[in-house]
């Protein structure tokens, strides 16, 4: 008897992003609002983190509600129907519990029936990771079109009396659809982790987020630029080819420091640098796709732009890749 022969298959060689969507709550919290509660000021917050206001989910708006809205918009903006999508990935680190996951219910509510669906947790580095997994699923022939969503609801994870953290984090969701392409539109992932620094960002016993702000700042302003550069190299490009830098919106000072370092290494002065944190706050895995959607809608990025995505955060985890703007 001959042994049964397993089949493995491959999909299209190239993939690209097809469109973006996003969702944020209607609650706008200004720095002055926060300074009525904790000892801080508009000037301090603008100077240290660059945030002017942040958006929080409405009282009755769940993480999944935001993921559904962002995902549905991304599908529509890609010129597709939900039935054209077969896989949904939600990158998140603020789901209230591990069961059920966010992706299955999100897929169903958008109308992607019986989707392959799973969540992915790489904290603020989640979106580039998820885009990469999506791209490899398509290239490997396991999926045809993948909806990649970043969604976070930090409201419950913030100690609103802790002035070092309540000024930074916010809620929201951003999404992108990925599918087969004639030409490569998603570069390889440059990713890694520093698990020895796990204690730098975590939860307190009461379940509130804490971080060693200064150490995180030091790490982010020294270790992230080389990852970004590596992603450009892996894509076979030079830093001068990059039209747009969309880094995780952790702190505007970190983003500006990264842009400065990349420019010193050859990136162009006219490279567009995402600064969505100014009005959105830090939304972890959602910050990159929210920025992409806002910038596309505002005409700040255009079809064909070469964009460098860079995520970094709790874990510590980091990830970067080059994508072409749909």
């Amino acid at each position: 008897m001959t042994r049964p022969q397993l089949r493995q298959h491959t999909g299209p060689a190239a993939t690209r992003l097809l469109g973006f969507g996003s969702s944020q709550g209607n609650r706008v919290v200004t720095n002055d609002d926060l300074s009525r509660r904790v000892d801080t000021s508009d000037e301090w917050i603008r100077q240290r983190v660059g945030i002017i206001e942040r958006r929080l989910a409405d009282e009755d708006q769940s993480l999944v509600d935001m993921a559904v809205e962002a995902g549905a918009k991304a599908v529509a903006n890609s010129g597709l129907a939900p039935s054209d999508v077969d896989t949904v990935i939600v990158a998140t680190c603020t789901l209230p519990g591990f069961i059920p996951n966010a992706s299955a219910q999100t897929a169903d509510r958008i109308g992607v029936k019986a989707a392959a669906a799973f969540d992915l947790n790489a904290a603020c580095a989640g979106f580039p990771y998820a885009v990469n997994v999506a791209s490899e699923l398509v290239r490997g022939g396991s999926a045809r079109r993948v909806l990649v969503i970043g969604a976070e609801r930090f409201t419950e994870w913030i100690d609103w009396d802790d002035r070092a953290n309540c000024i930074i984090f916010a809620d929201g969701s951003g999404a992108a659809v990925l599918g087969p392409a004639d030409e490569p539109g998603v570069g390889p992932l440059a990713a890694g982790s520093a698990g020895d620094l796990v204690d730098m960002i975590g939860l307190t016993e009461r379940g509130h987020i804490y971080q060693e702000g200064r150490s995180v700042f030091r790490w982010a302003t020294t270790r992230v630029a080389p990852i970004a550069e590596r992603a450009v190299e892996l894509a076979g490009l030079r830093l001068s080819d990059i039209d747009v830098l969309v880094a995780h919106q952790a702190n505007l000072r970190i983003v500006e420091s990264l842009a400065k370092k990349l420019r010193a290494r050859g990136a162009r002065e006219d490279m567009v640098v995402a600064d969505d944190i100014v009005h959105s706050g830090n939304t972890s895995a959602a910050s990159i796709p929210i920025a992409l959607d806002h910038m596309k809608s505002a005409g700040r990025i255009n079809t064909g732009d070469v964009m460098l995505l860079v995520g970094f955060g709790a874990g510590l985890s980091y990830s970067a890749q080059v994508v072409i703007c749909p």
Binding site: Q47, R48, E212, R214, S215, F217, R218, T221, T222, R253, S257
Partner: protein, 79 residues
């Protein structure tokens, strides 16, 4: 490396990171109060100083470096 040489290099770093003009950067000046260099810029200055002088300036030590002179003597003793 003499203290004068350390100060000269440190001036260049502080100017580059925080945009302070070099002539204002003298030993008695406080980074935060006189030069308007905040705690995050101090981190960036420390990182560059580590590279330049081959010293380690951990975050908890950094908090003790109040004046430019503090930084110069820390670098002189620890490099």
């Amino acid at each position: 490396m003499s203290n004068e040489e350390i100060l000269k290099e440190l001036r260049a770093i502080v100017e580059e990171v925080a945009g302070v003009s070099p002539e204002d950067i003298t030993e008695e000046k406080s980074f935060v109060d006189d030069l308007d260099v905040d705690s995050l810029s101090m981190v960036e200055i420390a990182v560059q100083a580590e590279d330049k002088f081959g010293v380690k300036i951990p975050d908890d030590q950094l908090a003790n470096l109040k004046t430019v002179g503090d930084a110069v003597s820390y670098i002189a003793t620890n490099k």
